[in-house]
């Protein structure tokens, strides 16, 4: 290449011309160009360009750059450095005030950082998929109880038909999850396997660490997640090894491991432990019919080229709707199909029943709460700052007067105060980031046992933080800056201006702080009370002396039952298809005039006695095999909702079979208290459908019996790991999460209250310090400690009373709506719940005032009078 034709890149040159001293320009430009040509000959032009740009950047040296000279000639720089110096001195001079300001602001900023991390985590859920805009979940709408609902499942044949019929659809993958037992040498565990089409790994972005994703097309291949690979094989590469999958009794298959996925991103709802080809369903479930419109797969995803094609596809769906509705019972008729883009699936999953990506949909609500709390606490910290700034302004009047008289305009004074404020906020930002990063985020993650994957090298964070900095400095600094800069020089220097002691706004801010503190304490104490209330709430059945175990089939049930019924500690044994707290199904009841959806549990006659369900009317099922096939037992809620005057003898049909109500049981919580009660029916189960064995034992023998059951299980079924336990332990997770809510609110209210009380303390201290002379005069004239105490207290007591009169009812209302919103069942919230908050705040005020009174009563009035 002819070197003469080459020219160095333009923009670094422009940059150079802008920054470099003009005297040096010709020489250095020439040098750079010469080196560039040389490099271009030696290396590639691209590398020469890169080196050229890099060299340009390295030319930014103080003695070569001209703009620094320019800066030095401006007097803004020394001015700002003076502001900086003054603010640092101010911080050092009043360590208490600085501490209150910086501590408060950093706690608030820490919470803001935490809220940011949580929001980012939630909104990034499932966003890592490359094709998230083109992949859709197939859903359908159907009428249940008169309301249209969206369902995340799909009729089984639909996926295959969509793939074959519609040209717009590029890829289709169906997903079906099953529980299996996984065996590799001595490692035997219950696992969940995802059956899917080979396209799964193309539509979803899950890169593999080892192996190839194409291998999923082979029915004998299995792909593991990284976690599972570590669980079974440690750090070694398992690709090529065989692993045994036990689908059910007598049905198992050996798979060759053909891939291991890389670690999944933290924020995800759709992933997998084990992936195998969907075709394997034919092996694992001989009865599985892919063409049955009556049955569903867990999910069907489609991928299309253009989002605009979706309209065409939607119009083409009527054909399938007809097919589906012809095949199924009338109650399951669907009204239309719909498509949910993967990009927004997680956000919408709350509203889609049986949706594959459902997980922590309440996170979006939590974000709202967190933003409100962050704003509240930030407001508390800003109020502190404003109050202290105004109260201390009196001490700085002379400084402002001097500045103004040597030519500072009001604007300059405002800029000075805002600068000081930004300095304080900067410190707070550093501490706050540290607090958030080192305490709030790991603390929260530790409580919930998950990771939000928060890092400091997130570019959006570095936009967010300066935004918080700016907002906080403006919110806290604007008012004091304008207020202080308002005063006239003459007035200040003559000493006729006095302010900072009786500013009405200061009182309003303090009052708001106390009211906010009151609200936070109310919420936190109610949470604590609620937890102990929930722990003693009745479940509607007896949890204490019951045990359960999953059984693979009826034979296993009989074998275990035979062993257990000989045990003297066992009072009663029962078999069931569903189990309280574990599983249920839904059914639609048909009446001549309406349809009604209920939960359904299939159990045997012994179940009511075993689980301690209270029968209030009628009878339980007849224990003879084959009887009561058309009898149901309902719960009280169902009776109430259907407004039956007498439940016994009522008729309805399910799937065209007529049923009669023979008994009513008291309402019970099938799942945790977090779920509202549902109208429920019990039906007699078929022996061959037994999946659970439940036991009632003599009080005190629960643990012992559980150990025996486990020991017997190992004898009977060495191949299958034991699943089951105490009925009470089903809820450990629920109570644990309630405890965590409690801790989180306690932390919030602790921060809020310490901010409010620090603000109160700071303000009272300043107020008393400003009135030393007055108190000394009072003392000299004979005022006792009591008079002075009354004098100080009266001023704040009015304020506190007003704050509590607002805060207590507000706390009550907010707590009530929060609890009604978050929990279907909770402790009754009333005005008493706020009383704890009132007591705490009054105590804090009295303690603060007392500490100041002690100081005054011990001081010598002569010293007080000598002050200036």
């Amino acid at each position: 290449m002819e070197p003469r034709l080459l020219h160095p890149p333009k923009w670094p040159l422009k940059f150079l011309r802008f920054f470099l001293k003009t005297d040096y320009l010709e020489e250095i430009e020439g040098d750079m160009e010469e080196i560039f040509r040389e490099n271009a000959e030696r290396f590639s032009v691209r590398k020469a360009n890169r080196l050229y740009t890099w060299e340009m950047i390295k030319l930014l040296r103080p003695n070569l750059v001209r703009n620094l000279e320019l800066l030095q000639t401006m007097n803004e720089l020394p001015m700002f450095s003076n502001y900086f110096k003054v603010s640092i001195r101010g911080l050092m001079k009043n360590p208490l005030n600085s501490f209150i300001n910086i501590f408060g602001l950093s706690a608030a900023i820490g919470i803001c950082v935490f809220a940011y991390a949580f929001t980012r985590w939630t909104y990034s859920t499932d966003q890592f998929h490359e094709h998230k805009q083109e992949v859709y979940l197939v859903t359908f709408f159907a009428n249940r109880d008169g309301a249209a609902q969206q369902f995340g499942r799909t009729p089984r044949p639909l996926g295959e038909m969509l793939r074959n019929d519609l040209a717009h659809i590029k890829k289709v993958c169906r997903v079906e999850d099953r529980n299996v037992v996984m065996k590799y040498e001595d490692n035997v565990f219950h696992e969940r396997v995802r059956y899917t089409d080979p396209e799964f790994l193309e539509m979803f972005t899950f890169p593999l660490k080892w192996g190839t994703s194409k291998s999923l097309a082979d029915v004998n291949s299995i792909i593991l997640s990284e976690d599972m690979s570590v669980k079974y094989f440690g750090e070694a590469n398992p690709v090529g090894l065989d692993i045994q999958v036990v689908f059910g009794k007598g049905r198992s298959k050996s798979f060759k491991i053909s891939g291991v996925a890389k670690e999944f991103p933290k924020a995800r709802t759709i992933s997998f432990d084990f992936l195998i080809n969907l075709e394997n369903l034919r092996t694992s479930e001989p009865g599985y019919d892919m063409h049955d419109w009556n049955a569903f797969v867990d999910a069907t995803f489609i991928e299309i080229d253009q989002p605009s094609d979706l309209k065409d596809i939607e119009q083409g769906m009527d054909k399938y709707k007809k097919l589906q509705n012809e095949a199924v019972q009338q109650d399951w008729a669907l009204s239309s199909f719909g498509f949910e883009p993967l990009a927004t699936l997680h956000e919408r999953s709350e509203y889609i029943r049986d949706d594959i990506s459902r997980s922590s949909s309440s996170n979006y609500k939590t974000i709202m709460f967190m933003v409100i709390i962050a704003i509240f606490i930030l407001a508390l910290a800003c109020f502190n700052y404003i109050n202290i700034a105004i109260a201390t302004a009196a001490k700085r009047l002379k400084e402002i007067g001097v500045r103004k008289s040597i030519g500072a305009t009001r604007r300059v004074v405002i800029v000075q105060f805002l600068t000081e404020n930004i300095v304080v906020t900067c410190f707070a930002l550093i501490f706050g980031l540290f607090l958030g990063y080192a305490f709030f985020i790991p603390g929260f993650e530790g409580l919930w046992h998950f990771s939000m994957g928060f890092t400091l090298n997130d570019p959006a964070l570095w936009i967010y933080l300066p935004a918080v900095l700016l907002l906080t400095s403006l919110a806290s600094g604007i008012y004091p800056a304008f207020y202080i800069s308002r005063f006239q020089v003459v007035g200040i220097l003559k000493g006729s201006v006095k302010f900072g002691q009786k500013n009405p706004l200061t009182r309003i801010f303090l009052g708001m702080q106390l009211a906010l503190g009151c609200i936070f304490i109310t919420i936190a104490t109610t949470f604590t009370q609620n937890n102990s209330y929930m722990a003693t709430r009745s479940w509607g059945y007896n949890q204490a002396e019951t045990l359960y175990a999953n059984v693979p089939d009826h034979d296993a049930y009989e074998e275990l039952n035979a062993l257990l019924s000989r045990d003297p500690d066992v009072i009663s044994v029962s078999g069931s298809t569903h189990h309280l707290g574990k599983s249920h199904t839904t059914a639609v009841l048909h009446f001549p005039e309406r349809e009604y959806e209920v939960d359904q549990l299939s159990v045997d006659a012994n179940y009511f006695e075993t689980m301690g369900l209270h029968l209030t009317q009628g009878r339980v099922f007849n224990p003879h095999e084959g009887s009561d096939k058309q009898a149901v037992i309902v719960n009280e809620l169902l009776v109430k909702n259907l407004a039956w005057e007498s439940a016994i003898g009522q008729h309805f049909s399910i799937d065209s079979v007529q049923y009669e109500v023979v008994g009513v049981v008291k309402d019970f919580h099938s799942y945790s208290f977090a779920k509202p009660l549902r109208p429920t029916i019990f039906r007699v189960t078929d022996r061959n459908e037994y999946r659970y064995l439940s036991l009632r034992v003599r009080p005190g023998t629960e643990i012992k019996t559980l150990k025996e059951v486990q020991a017997k299980w190992i004898q009977l079924f060495p191949e299958i790991p034991f699943e089951g336990g105490l009925q009470e332990d089903t809820w450990t997770g629920y109570f644990e999460s309630m405890r965590i809510f409690d801790i989180v609110w306690l932390v919030f209210s602790f921060i809020a209250v310490s901010l409010a009380s620090l603000g109160l303390y700071g303000l009272i201290t300043l107020n008393v310090a400003g009135r030393v002379k007055e108190f000394s005069v009072r003392k000299v004239l004979g005022a006792g400690t009591r008079d002075i105490a009354l004098n100080i207290t009266r001023q704040y007591l009015v304020l506190l009373t007003v704050a509590l009169l607002i805060g207590a009812p507000a706390g009550y209302l907010i707590t009530k709506s929060l609890f009604d919103f978050a929990f279907p069942y909770h402790i009754p919230v009333n005005l008493f719940s706020a009383s704890g908050a009132v007591v705490i705040l009054v105590l804090i005020l009295l303690l603060t005032v007392y500490s100041q009174i002690r100081r005054i009563s011990k001081s010598n009035p002569v010293n007080g009078l000598k002050v200036e």
């Binding site: 003469r4 020219h7 040096y24 010709e26 020489e27 250095i28 430009e29 020439g30 040098d31 750079m32 160009e33 010469e34 080196i35 040509r37 060299e55 390295k58 030319l59 930014l60 040296r61 103080p62 003695n63 070569l64």
Partner: protein
């Protein structure tokens, strides 16, 4: 010594200028130093050293001829001043005397 403060890198650059005589301009100095030090140097570091020493009076400079290679821009040829040479000699003498003193020092330390 204090008046004639000369950094380590500056001293190297000054020596190079003295060695190169009439050929001493930015790129040549850089090339020469790079080959002797066996490491890459940035234009910025050389230029800032040159400018600093010019301010201190160790160097003078004048424009040379424009060349095609430099896109028609003139070189700036540097030369050492007599003050610069004196400082360099002073530095060399100080170093030499220190080197001379070293073996004796080491021996006496060993004896103790």
């Amino acid at each position: 010594m204090k008046k004639t403060k000369l950094g380590e890198f500056e001293e190297l650059v000054l020596l190079t200028v003295a060695t190169l005589q009439g050929d001493a301009y930015g790129v040549e100095i850089k090339r020469e130093l790079e080959s002797r030090l066996k490491e890459r140097l940035s234009v910025g570091s050389i230029q800032s050293a040159l400018k600093r020493m010019e301010d201190k009076g160790f160097l003078t400079s004048q424009f040379g001829e424009p060349t095609q290679k430099r896109g028609g821009k003139r070189k700036r040829i540097y030369a050492t001043t007599s003050h610069g040479r004196r400082v360099l000699e002073e530095m060399r003498d100080i170093r030499a005397s220190l080197w001379k003193a070293m073996p004796n020092l080491a021996q006496s330390l060993n004896v103790v």
